[in-house]
């Protein structure tokens, strides 16, 4: 059979940079996750907190017009539109995001190792770094959907339900904070889950390692600090380091409190470098079987 009869034809367009392939990896990765009902359950549960805040802001805006005292009473529920409130909201969302990432890590990265997806990807016209960046962007997109996007929606809602645009003009730091905290969460968590899933691709040990890293290291940090009161031990808790750095972005971190944002940034940067090294060592087109 002739090649043109089989539908094959030469490519006559201008080949684009392989970096565009990263976007295809993101698209395929997201569609892979979006078609699982488990993901939608997790998103639904993750958005319960968002819906609570969304409804509360509306309620507060409505009641403020009628009675200022009720609005002040509602401020006890921390839906105040300040940087602190958004930092608390994003911290709560990040906890749910950790669960989502356990699923995403297993589906996006772990399954590539278990079912040979890695060999398929790297046999295309892209290199190792395109694959890595594509997968990292996919995970970062998932983190953004659960943490940054809802916070941005709440920020817009809070501003638009007020009497003027003054809220937006008065609080540019809040917007920077949301984007900053979101970036910290997306970068650190995507690198970390990729590194863990690349070395522990099976779902059960992946979940155990991922959760253990966050929950137990915090416990260890608290126990070490309790020995002699040295607060630098708290740097061991990566989860809290991200939280401190996020609060610094909002301007709600006490600068005199140890550990400072600089130390947290240094620890998280080191963690990201180690994760990246682990990822690069593990992403190979062939598997050496000994």
């Amino acid at each position: 059979m002739e090649l043109d009869q089989a539908g094959y034809r030469t490519w006559e367009g201008q080949p684009r940079s392989p970096w565009w392939g990263c976007l295809s990896i993101v698209r395929v990765g997201l569609s892979l996750i979006f078609r699982r009902w488990v993901f939608w359950i997790l998103i639904g549960l993750g958005l319960l907190n968002f819906l609570f805040h969304f409804a509360f802001i509306y309620l507060k805006a409505t009641l403020s017009v009628q009675n200022e005292n009720i609005a002040r009473f509602l401020d006890n529920y921390k839906v105040t539109g300040t940087g602190q409130a958004y930092a608390d909201f994003m911290f709560a969302q990040a906890g749910i995001c950790a669960l989502l990432l356990a699923f995403a890590g297993s589906t996006l990265i772990g399954s590539d190792y278990r079912q040979g997806g890695m060999v398929f990807y790297l046999s295309r016209g892209i290199g190792k770094w395109h694959y890595i960046v594509g997968k990292l962007l996919t995970i970062a997109a998932v983190v953004t959907i659960v943490t940054t996007l809802p916070a941005l929606i709440l920020f817009i809602e809070y501003g638009t339900l007020s009497n003027s645009f003054q809220y937006f003009l008065d609080n540019p730091r809040v917007l920077c904070g949301i984007l900053g905290y979101g970036t910290v969460l997306a970068v650190v968590q995507s690198l970390l889950i990729f590194a863990i899933a690349a070395w522990v691709p099976r779902t059960v040990p992946l979940v155990m390692t991922w959760l253990g890293l966050f929950a137990l290291l915090k416990g260890l940090a608290d126990a070490m600090r309790a020995i002699d009161g040295n607060r630098y031990w708290l740097l061991l808790g990566f989860w809290d380091d991200m939280n401190r750095l996020g609060r610094w972005c909002f301007g709600s971190l006490d600068p005199n409190r140890i550990p400072s944002a600089g130390y947290c940034l240094a620890v998280l940067a080191a963690l990201c470098v180690v994760s990246l090294v682990l990822i690069v060592r593990r992403v190979r087109a062939v598997e050496v079987v000994s």
Binding site: I41, L42, V200, P205, G212, L216, I227
Partner: protein, 255 residues
């Protein structure tokens, strides 16, 4: 009959061997090691007492985290692991009836969970010194029964759902952690509530209980005996339900 028993015995040991010689066992060792470090660090503080050890370390670290994680590790992966590895088809074509297959896998999983839970609790209590040894007998029945209840639940989830591990995780996070701290009787749907009731009941001399006045008033505990009976009944009921569902379910993703 003898052949069936022999086949079940073989399946039991095969399951134990496969589960033990796996990366999840390494993860269990690492997590237990981290908990041991926490206990060692805790024991170096100025005034270590049994009450503090229970409230600051064992309840939040072991009962709330390590015990359910062991159960997810060996429970959810019992049938779920076979589905993930696409070896369930081989399990289903062996000449053993489905209820016996499930029951044997459950026995192996429960034995592993009980072994890990008991062993790690002993290690942590031993490392904590005198306060730990005081607490070991107090925590052991609750930890074992809680671990078995979690394991039989997660085994069932792994047999019913394709992403059993993730669903177990969601259940643990939302129902156990979130509902477990809500006011009212809604928390009685969680395994952790009954485990804590057993611990607080047996630790009456140390005045163990939830931290803080509000938490204590909201806890609304049941007696230790009632908690033991509930957890035991839950283990049996979940195993029976698992056998029933595994027998009737058609696994389209088996191969």
């Amino acid at each position: 009959m003898k052949t069936t028993l022999s086949a079940c015995g073989h399946l039991f040991w095969l399951t134990i061997r496969r589960q033990l010689c796996s990366r999840q066992t390494l993860a269990c060792v690492a997590l237990t090691g981290l908990c041991a470090l926490i206990v060692l660090a805790w024991s170096r503080q100025a005034d270590p007492t049994a009450k503090k050890l229970a409230e600051q370390v064992l309840v939040p670290t072991f009962v709330a985290f390590l015990m359910p994680i062991f159960a997810i590790c060996y429970g959810a992966s019992g049938i779920g692991g076979e589905r993930e590895d696409q070896t369930l088809i081989y399990l289903l074509i062996v000449p053993i009836t489905r209820p016996l297959v499930y029951f044997t896998k459950a026995l192996a999983g429960l034995a592993l969970v009980a072994g890990w839970t008991g062993g790690s609790l002993f290690l942590l209590c031993r490392l904590a010194g005198v306060p730990g040894l005081k607490l070991f007998a107090m925590f052991l029945p609750a930890a074992l029964l809680g671990g078995l209840a979690y394991a039989s639940l997660f085994l069932l989830v792994g047999a019913v759902f394709r992403h059993g591990t993730i669903i177990s995780l969601v259940y643990w996070f939302f129902l156990e952690v979130l509902f477990g701290n809500l006011p009212g009787i809604v928390k009685r749907v969680s395994v952790a509530f009954y485990v804590r009731c057993m611990i607080y009941d047996s630790g009456g001399d140390l005045q163990l209980g939830p931290l803080g006045r509000v938490a204590r008033e909201m806890f609304l505990p049941v007696s230790g005996m009632a908690a033991t009976a509930t957890l035991s009944a839950a283990v049996v009921a979940l195993l029976a339900l698992g056998v029933l569902l595994f027998e009737t379910r058609e696994y389209r993703d088996a191969c």
